[in-house]
């Protein structure tokens, strides 16, 4: 149950004056139920990469194996792959179109040729998974808030019962609470269904809080592929390529420089708090 990416290269507009290599020898193994954060500056190849994973783009060279099968084999069922690897694009709410939310979520499974009952069961299940209030199911999707619309759009992909869910900047443009709701929902979903999640994000704080592995793309190369703590330890290199570490990483590094014996590998505010408190005499603050 995994995806193996073996030295894929992708060149845009090959053979023309605009030829540009978007991916260079990218290799990785993605295991079942992983929660991966994919980061990189705009134009680093993130979107090109994720579109390879469900066959929307075909690599110029190299191979991709989905559950042991080469997806570029002549008789490989690409349609099936696309229902197994669900891709939620940026601003997915722009793709909502039906008169009510329930119908919108039914659209995908209906097109798989499922019976009416199976389609509706899947839609219910998907809407339940994204935690949308049942009173809203038969309302127009256009009356919802930004975060709710986005959850409906994600439900539309979940109704296809994918094994892998790829989200391209699912929190762009949402308020802090909306960001937390979407990512909390994705995390919960992963725990409940065992789905694999790949999260493309520009928010280092969000990535640090939720994922357990980070892949960093730079100019088409997979530059780092490691745990969040190990990746953010390279915060200086990340800055060179237009990224950053979460703010707490900077706070903890500055404290360390000022002579505090704090843990610089913390990823969240809560961990930072605990690390700072462990350096302070408990008599000073115990209530």
């Amino acid at each position: 149950m995994s995806i193996i990416v073996d030295k894929i290269n992708y060149i845009y507009e090959i053979g023309t004056g605009f030829e540009r290599q978007a991916l260079k020898d990218v290799s990785c193994v993605i295991e079942k139920n992983e929660f991966i954060g994919l980061i990189g500056h705009t134009g680093s190849g993130k979107s090109t990469f994720i579109q390879h994973l469900n066959g929307l783009i075909r690599a110029t060279s190299g191979n991709i194996f989905y559950e042991g099968q080469d997806i570029y084999d002549k008789d490989y069922d690409m349609r099936k792959l696309r229902s197994k690897v669900g891709l939620v694009f940026q601003y997915p709410e722009h793709q909502l179109f039906e008169t009510d939310i329930f119908k919108d979520v039914c659209f995908g499974p209906k097109n798989l040729g499922l019976s009416k009952m199976d389609t509706e069961l899947r839609a219910f299940e998907a809407l339940r998974l994204v935690g949308l209030d049942e009173n809203l199911y038969y309302q127009s999707p256009f009356d919802l808030s930004g975060g709710q619309k986005r959850r409906v759009a994600i439900a539309g992909v979940l109704a296809m019962k994918p094994d892998v869910l790829i989200l391209d900047e699912p929190t762009a443009g949402l308020d802090p609470k909306g960001r937390e709701e979407i990512l909390g929902c994705v995390q919960h979903l992963r725990e409940e269904t065992g789905i694999t999640v790949i999260l493309v994000s520009h928010s280092m704080e969000d990535v640090a809080r939720y994922v357990n592995r980070i892949m960093v793309m730079n100019d088409g190369i997979l530059m780092y592929d490691d745990t969040p703590a190990n990746v953010f330890a390279h915060y200086k290199e990340l800055e060179q390529i237009g990224l950053a570490a979460p703010n707490v990483t900077y706070i903890m590094n500055d404290m360390k420089k000022a002579g505090w014996n704090v843990d610089t590998s913390v990823l969240t505010v809560e961990q930072a708090r605990d690390s700072i408190l462990s350096c302070i005499d408990q008599n000073v603050y115990r209530k």
């Binding site: 308020d175 609470k177 603050y285 209530k287």
Partner: protein, 283 residues
């Protein structure tokens, strides 16, 4: 009078059914009164649907008040005769840079606005040069906008507004689609314009870190103005902000967490330096 003054500004979205009868009324901006000083850097916070963008669209007369009055540089925005001069006084930059680019070269993009209001050719070129220099994009003047990074595109979008010589620039989530470096580029550019050219900046954002250096912050909820003050006073109210679906910068949140654990540390810390200084007491 300040560059922007709102007096009991109210805006209602009215939805009608097929017969034209009123179906529902949503009050997007509700009785907002405020005054923004010329030359200041102001941030507007609020969750999705709180009315921020509707308010912003009033500032360059894309929408008119249902009730109340809004003056931009002393001009009443509901007077149709003022519309053109208001749009030259207050320029707007939106979220997605790709939707704002229409020309094949960066310099043409920046010259497009002045050309449309009949600025003489020589002056257009002067304005293109000075505004591209102001945002640090002069080296890219002969480049195609679609070859730029997100942050660069957004800076070109800002230069296009600067070329119109506005007194005030309104930015509606200009960094939502940018990577960390792009976000920093844009915010630094805005501060530079504010300090060097004295342009009033009104920044709408969901990133609390971008608000730290603002002069004044307004917080909207359900169309109403619910909080206002300096970043320090606003971010001292961690719980209130979270109730409003907002957040605080990570440093401030860390301070809040330390307080909750019983550490007697002061409120309203916005930077790591302040935190380090404050923590010295506990060493």
């Amino acid at each position: 009078m300040g560059i922007v003054k709102a007096d009991k500004l109210t805006f209602e979205y009215i939805r009608r059914d097929e017969e034209g009868n009123v179906d529902s009324i949503t009050t997007a901006v509700d009785n907002v009164s405020l005054e923004i000083k010329e030359g200041s850097f102001v941030a507007v916070l609020g969750h999705n649907g709180s009315g921020k963008s509707t308010f912003a669209k009033h500032l360059n007369a894309l929408l008119y008040p249902t009730e109340g009055t809004l003056w931009v540089d002393g001009m009443d925005t509901s007077e149709e005769n003022n519309t053109m001069s208001i749009r030259q006084t207050a320029g707007m930059v939106f979220q997605n840079p790709d939707n704002q680019m229409i020309c094949t070269l960066v310099e043409e993009e920046v010259g497009f606005g002045p050309e449309n209001i009949g600025v003489p050719t020589d002056e257009i070129w002067q304005r293109v040069e000075s505004s591209l220099k102001a945002v640090g994009m002069y080296a890219f003047r002969k480049a195609s906008p679609n070859k730029l990074s997100g942050g660069q595109k957004q800076r070109v979008a800002i230069a296009s507004i600067v070329a119109m010589k506005p007194k005030c620039i309104i930015l509606d989530e200009p960094t939502a689609m940018l990577d960390p470096a792009g976000r920093k580029e844009v915010i630094d550019t805005l501060h530079l314009l504010n300090k060097q050219e004295g342009v009033t900046i009104i920044l709408i954002t969901h990133y609390m870190e971008e608000v730290i250096d603002a002069d004044y912050v307004y917080v909207m909820d359900e169309g109403k103005l619910v909080m206002q003050g300096t970043p320090r006073t606003i971010f001292s109210q961690v719980e209130h902000l979270k109730e409003l679906r907002l957040d605080v910068p990570q440093v401030t949140e860390l301070v809040y967490e330390l307080q909750q654990s019983g550490l007697p540390i002061k409120d309203g810390i916005l930077t790591t330096e302040e935190l380090l200084q404050e923590l010295e007491r506990f060493r």
